[in-house]
């Protein structure tokens, strides 16, 4: 692998660029292109999933919890999630829509992904999020972001491993192909030059076989000469 190491402000950290020719040489014929927006959407959905899973364990007022659930459901496209509960709490939730939760862009992944609330006047008694709740939300967002980042890193690592394995396999196959080519070439040459067909070991073997044959012919001649008088009898078996 020889990725180009030019800095690119738009690039994802840890990612690399490969020329198409290089990929084609490695036998990669099809690529699936995922746009940045799609990736961001996927990330948002992952955060929303994580939020939904962790929501029940959070020490936040029910109203906030419900609001978070609705937001997450919206991102996931599940408007009808926990419908009976939603219907029951809908009037309360409507009251607090004025303080929306924003899941920030993933592109700025060097900074912690945070579920940041807009600037709210802390003295505003109408705001449902006090200092403690904000701190909790921030902590939650950090945890989720951490999870998400580690998951992404895992996926990236496994993909890198796969690519490395494929590269090694390609190298092996290339070497095998070269060896086959050489053998085929040698065979073609030997067919053209019949004098070079026999290898030394074959000659030695045929010499050995010839020696063995001659020794047995001599032995047989002696045996025939001596066994003239012996007539194998088959009677009296077992006596």
């Amino acid at each position: 692998m020889n990725p180009q190491q030019q800095p690119d402000p738009m690039a994802f950290p840890g990612s690399s660029i490969h020329p198409m020719e290089e990929l084609q040489k490695k036998g990669i014929r099809k690529l699936r292109i995922i746009s940045e927006s799609q990736l961001k959407q996927t990330a948002r959905e992952a955060v929303a999933h994580a939020l939904l899973e962790a929501l029940e364990g959070l020490d936040v007022p029910d109203v906030v919890r419900q609001e978070l659930r609705i937001r997450a459901a919206k991102i996931l496209g599940k408007e009808q999630i926990d419908a009976p509960q939603e219907q029951q709490l809908a009037p309360v939730a409507e009251i607090h829509v004025s303080s929306p939760l924003v899941i920030p862009s993933v592109s700025n992944s060097s900074a912690d992904v945070s579920i940041g609330a807009p600037e709210v006047d802390e003295n505003d008694s109408g705001s449902p999020l006090g200092k403690r709740e904000k701190a909790l939300l921030l902590q939650l967002s950090r945890l989720i972001a951490q999870d998400w980042r580690s998951e992404l890193a895992l996926v990236r690592d496994s993909q890198r491993d796969q690519v490395e394995r494929l590269e090694m396999r390609i190298q092996e196959l290339t070497m095998a192909l070269q060896a086959t080519d050489q053998v085929l070439e040698t065979n073609a040459k030997s067919r053209q030059e019949p004098a070079e067909i026999t290898i030394p070991f074959d000659n030695k073997k045929s010499e050995l076989l010839d020696q063995l044959f001659q020794a047995n012919v001599a032995l047989r001649a002696l045996s025939q000469g001596q066994s003239q008088g012996i007539s194998p009898s088959r009677d009296g078996e077992g006596k």
Binding site: L209, Q211, L212, F213, V217, L219, R220, S223, E237, K239
Partner: protein, 365 residues
């Protein structure tokens, strides 16, 4: 008339042994003719091993019980009380070559029966000529090799070639250069130096202290330690094959032999170890003889390629024991073959298959 008859003889022989046009008409066979067990491998994929033992029913009752007039192979062990048993091979050679009178005849017939049983085990198709390469001990006498050929012919094996058993092993493993092959059998231990040509007398050493010697020594040692115990040579052989060991292991060799008609458990670990270990010095001496008489430039090469085959190669710790012995000669490497029972037969089969067709036709004519 006489001239006419003489002219007819070669014609009749030609009819009996038609020329083989292609290798399809031949069943190639490799035979490892061993003192204790014989193995066969044939080109149709058949592989069999059987005890080198022939038995005839003692009387008409046993003949009726057994349902046959002669029994060959492992069944003889099972029915030995109803049979007159005969080992056709002794000390690696056909036993009849050293016998006289009736004993010679019976032993010879047993040899034919054993080879006929091996031929049958090869499962030749009707009309197929059976061409066999038979492995004989490294230092088998010329008389013994001739006897093998004669007996094989009587056993309806169409073409026969005799080869040194360790050479067959070397051929099977493609170790034809700079190697020493040791074939540990029941009757003999054959050592053969491979130098890229057919081994001659100087390249081979046969030791007559082999598996049978271990059985005998083991029997003596057990009798010394436990005089009240009753056993047969077959029981000793089975115990040896089960527990053979040259190194200290956690496992103890406990056997149940009768004493005064009562099964009694005895520990024969030390006796087995002692009996088996006694083989090593003679093997090392054999290796030393082959190494010291080899080209000094290549001596280290054959020391580094010592291949051990045969049933005795399975003794636990043999590899280490031989390598320790080789250390005194400057070190060496010992390899035990993967398939000790069939490697010789496989090598003989490979030789039979590689042998050109015209050679087989000449041998058969």
């Amino acid at each position: 008339m006489a001239a006419k008859k003489q002219a007819q003889i070669p014609e009749a022989r030609d009819v009996a042994t038609p020329m083989i046009e292609d290798k399809v008409g031949i069943l190639h066979v490799g035979i490892d003719l061993g003192t204790s067990r014989s193995a066969i491998a044939s080109s149709n994929g058949t592989r069999e091993v059987m005890a080198s033992l022939v038995g005839w029913p003692k009387d008409s009752v046993s003949a009726k019980v057994l349902g046959r007039t002669v029994v060959v192979g492992d069944r003889v062990h099972e029915n030995r009380l109803a049979l007159n048993c005969c080992f056709p091979l002794k000390d690696g050679n056909l036993a009849f070559t050293k016998l006289k009178g009736d004993q010679r005849k019976v032993s010879r017939r047993a040899g034919v029966r054993l080879l006929a049983a091996l031929r049958k085990a090869a499962r030749a198709q009707r009309g197929q000529a059976v061409c066999a390469v038979i492995g004989a001990p490294a230092e088998a006498t010329r008389e013994n090799k001739e006897a093998i050929i004669d007996l094989a012919r009587e056993a309806r094996i169409d073409g026969v070639m005799v080869v040194s058993e360790p050479f067959a092993v070397a051929y099977a493993l493609d170790a034809l250069e700079n190697a020493i092959v040791i074939d540990i059998g029941a009757g003999t231990i054959d050592l053969c130096r491979m130098a890229g040509s057919l081994p001659c007398e100087e390249d081979q050493v046969t030791l007559f202290q082999a598996g049978d010697y271990v059985d005998q020594r083991l029997g003596e040692l057990i009798h010394e330690a436990h005089p009240e115990i009753q056993f047969t040579s077959n029981m000793i052989k089975l115990a040896k094959e089960r527990f053979s060991s040259m190194v200290d292991t956690q496992k103890r060799a406990i056997v149940s032999f009768p004493a005064q008609g009562r099964p009694t458990k005895i520990d024969i670990t030390d006796q087995i170890r002692t009996a088996v270990t006694e083989l090593v010095p003679s093997m090392i001496a054999g290796i030393q003889k082959l190494v010291s008489t080899f080209d000094p430039e290549f001596q280290h090469k054959i020391r580094d390629k010592v291949i051990v085959s045969g049933g005795g190669s399975q003794v636990f710790g043999l590899q280490d024991a031989l390598e320790s012995g080789l250390d005194e000669l400057g070190g060496g490497r010992v390899t035990i073959v993967d398939d000790p029972v069939f490697t010789g037969a496989q090598g003989a089969l490979k030789l039979a298959q590689d042998m050109p067709l015209e050679y087989w036709n000449q041998i058969r004519s």
